[in-house]
């Protein structure tokens, strides 16, 4: 009787261990997913292909730009978030074209596709030895501002390759501590002052 009980306990323990192993096995896409390189604003973050240093974050209620001699205004019911990053390539030319604003609630915002004809919106090509500035534009909900992060990579979903995840922790604040939001951000003027 005792022996049978021991066998039963052993079987149950084995089943529990197997169940735990099955539930905790990482999925294939987790095993081969991006290799995270974390950092914060003002610090260079070194990935395999590029170094990224987030210089500043700005917010605006509308963007203006000129295209084909016509001024275009892009308004939003949320906020425009403009992230200025200094990029430098390491071993080869690289397009740092995938950027996401990840808010505190886990909301992920891709680069805005409402600016396809705006100046300077092609993926920033970075050459070794020639660091340059790039600006990324996101249209976000106002409650996704604090505690957000910028995710940067060459490809959409890097596999076994590094992805920069930079904490956006130095936001522009007015004297009273409120978020500093510009009425208008002029994209053409920003391009002129760029490199």
């Amino acid at each position: 009787m005792k022996r049978r009980l021991a066998t039963l306990v052993l079987l149950l323990a084995a089943a529990a261990v197997l169940f735990a192993m099955q539930r905790s096995t990482p999925r294939y896409d987790e095993l081969t997913g991006p290799l995270l390189v974390s950092g914060r604003m003002g610090q260079p973050v070194r990935t395999r292909l590029f170094d990224a240093n987030v210089e500043r974050v700005e917010f605006a209620r509308q963007l203006v730009y000129e295209r084909f001699d016509r001024q275009t205004v892009r308004t939003t019911s949320g906020l425009w978030a403009i992230v200025t990053v200094e990029l430098s390539a390491r071993s080869r030319s690289v397009n740092v074209g995938w950027a996401r604003w990840v808010g505190p609630g886990g909301f992920q915002y891709r680069l805005s596709d409402r600016l396809t004809l705006a100046p300077g919106q092609s993926p920033p090509a970075v050459e070794p030895g020639l660091p340059r500035r790039a600006r990324y534009f996101f249209e976000i909900r106002p409650d996704q501002v604090g505690g957000a992060a910028l995710w940067l990579s060459e490809q959409m979903a890097p596999r076994l390759d590094s992805e920069a995840r930079i904490k956006l922790d130095a936001l522009p604040r007015a004297a009273d501590g409120a978020l500093d939001v510009m009425d208008t951000f002029d994209m053409n003027a920003a391009i002129k002052e760029q490199p």
Binding site: S91, P128, L130, P195
Partner: protein, 191 residues
């Protein structure tokens, strides 16, 4: 009784030893068989073995005869997409096509600049180049060119001014990897 038991023990021991030896042999064999495709993919997907080409020489590569006709550079003023201290480099090739199946032979055609530390500069499109009868390597693939014709291939690069005169051009084709070409001549400064 015990004699038969000793015999059985000796047999078990023998088989255990054989199994261990087989494990040592079979494990690497199985690993090699399963990883073969990945290893081949790694070996054939990289520029690993360089073929040096002397200045002015022609070389047969991927069903064509390649010659670096000119390699020129000029400093660029900063502004727009051009960062500070940038140099524009333009590589011109004359390529005589021997096998007209360019979509196969020139798949993954990449012309790049390389420095002494192995850094690579890929072609850029930010340089304002005058119109010409040249084409880029990849766009020439579907030009429908016949065997015997000569293609003019031009690629532009954006590199830092410091050390620009030491760079060298490389040509890489997916079908020829891990072999690739590296031309000896350095960029010549023009104004």
């Amino acid at each position: 009784m015990s004699g038969r038991g000793d015999e059985r023990d000796a047999g078990e021991k023998r088989w255990r030893r054989r199994s261990m030896i087989l494990l040592v042999v079979l494990l690497p064999v199985v690993m090699a068989v399963t990883a073969r495709q990945s290893i081949e993919g790694w070996w054939n997907g990289r520029d690993l073995i360089v073929r040096e080409v002397a200045a002015g020489d022609q070389v047969d590569f991927g069903g064509a005869r390649w010659q670096l006709h000119a390699l020129r550079m000029a400093p660029l003023p900063a502004g727009g997409n051009i960062p500070d201290h940038a140099m524009g480099v333009v590589a011109d090739f004359h390529v005589q096509v021997q096998d007209a199946d360019l979509p196969t032979n020139w798949r993954g055609c990449t012309i790049s600049l390389q420095d002494g530390q192995g850094r690579r500069w890929m072609p850029t499109h930010v340089l304002p180049l005058p119109r010409s009868n040249t084409s880029e390597c990849l766009s020439a693939v579907y030009s429908g060119v016949k065997a015997g014709a000569t293609l003019r291939i031009r690629q532009a690069f954006l590199v830092p001014r410091a050390g620009a005169d030491t760079l060298r051009v490389t040509v890489s084709l997916a079908r020829q990897q891990p072999h690739y070409l590296r031309f000896a001549q350095h960029p010549r400064l023009v104004q």
